[in-house]
């Protein structure tokens, strides 16, 4: 096993553990921080798969922008210390049973599906930024790019309008 594959497995492990911890936190900021760790681990895994461009994007956009947005909103909400007590009351052990059972079934099926196919190894070659860029400007994805930009515009306008507080009620 080469260094890259080892890296991939280690990073995956870290991501999984961090995610599990993130969703079980009582304090929302702690959860966010664990999630950032998870995202960084995933970025490393992506790099290990020979996709440096998206690894960088993962760090910059996902961990850097989206998670920061989360932090800002939590600050704006300004809910204070009673949230922890709240979470404790909401997050009884009994709550976990149903979802875990359902998810285990689904995950089992997923694993079953995947292992049936098998297939050659991934990540043998590195697909760098140049290749991604060339493929993006190809006619196949041109319309996708345009749509994505329109989506972002829509998100921008929507978020601005919905986020206005105080002066006008919707």
């Amino acid at each position: 096993m080469s260094a890259m594959t080892t890296t991939f497995y280690v990073a995956s492990l870290v991501a999984l553990v961090a995610t599990a911890l993130a969703i079980a936190q009582k304090n929302v900021v702690h959860g966010l921080l664990y999630l950032i760790v998870s995202l960084l681990a995933v970025a490393l895994a992506l790099f290990a798969l020979g996709a440096p461009f998206v690894a960088a994007l993962e760090v910059i956009v996902y961990a850097g922008a989206i998670m920061v947005l989360f932090v800002f909103v939590i600050m704006l909400l300004n809910r204070g210390p009673q949230t922890v007590a709240e979470e404790r009351s909401w997050l009884t052990p009994r709550m976990w049973v149903g979802p875990i059972v359902l998810t285990i079934v689904l995950a089992a099926e997923l694993v079953y599906t995947v292992t049936r196919t098998g297939g050659p190894a991934a990540g043998a070659a590195i697909v760098d930024a140049r290749q991604v860029g060339t493929a993006l400007f190809d006619v196949r994805y041109a319309i996708g790019v345009e749509l994505a930009s329109m989506l972002l515009l829509a998100g921008l306008v929507g978020a601005y309008h919905l986020g206005r507080r105080g002066t006008r009620r919707m």
Binding site: M4, T5, F8, Y9, S12, A15, T19, A22, I23, V28, G31, L35, V42, A45, L49, L57, E58, V61, A65, I66, L69, V73, L77, R79, E86, W90, M95, W96, T103, L106, A107, L110, V111, V114, T117, G118, A121, A122, G123, A124, A125, V127, Q131, V132, A135, L136, Y141, G144, A148, L151, L152, A154, G155, L156, G158, A159, H161, L162, G163, R165
Partner: protein
């Protein structure tokens, strides 16, 4: 240099997705729900990149890009809605916003 078997990569993505799903189903705080949704999207993206890497093409990464753009837009609007929810109901309890019942 040999790479990671595709099935293994997909299994990792699947497990990450399941964890995100658990988070959505278990947590009552809407912030945590949004968080878990991000986890699920991330896992999906990982799956795409694994698949693209298996074929040695850039398509997987391009789809990851699209997923990223979509996640960003969705988080922006979603968090604005969370602000609204907090203003209107005074709480971040997802179960409190159940007026559309019956």
């Amino acid at each position: 240099m040999d790479g990671v078997p595709m099935s293994n990569g997909l299994i990792v993505a699947g497990l990450l997705f399941s964890l995100g799903l658990i988070g959505v189903l278990v947590r009552r705080n809407v912030i945590f729900i949004l968080l878990s949704i991000e986890v699920m999207l991330n896992a999906a993206g990982l799956a795409f990149v694994v698949a693209g890497s298996r074929w040695g093409q850039a398509d997987g990464q391009i789809v990851f890009l699209f997923i990223l753009a979509m996640a960003a837009a969705e988080v922006a609007v979603g968090l604005a809605l969370v602000l609204r929810l907090n203003d209107g109901l005074g709480t971040l309890d997802a179960d409190a916003a159940s007026a559309l019942r019956g």
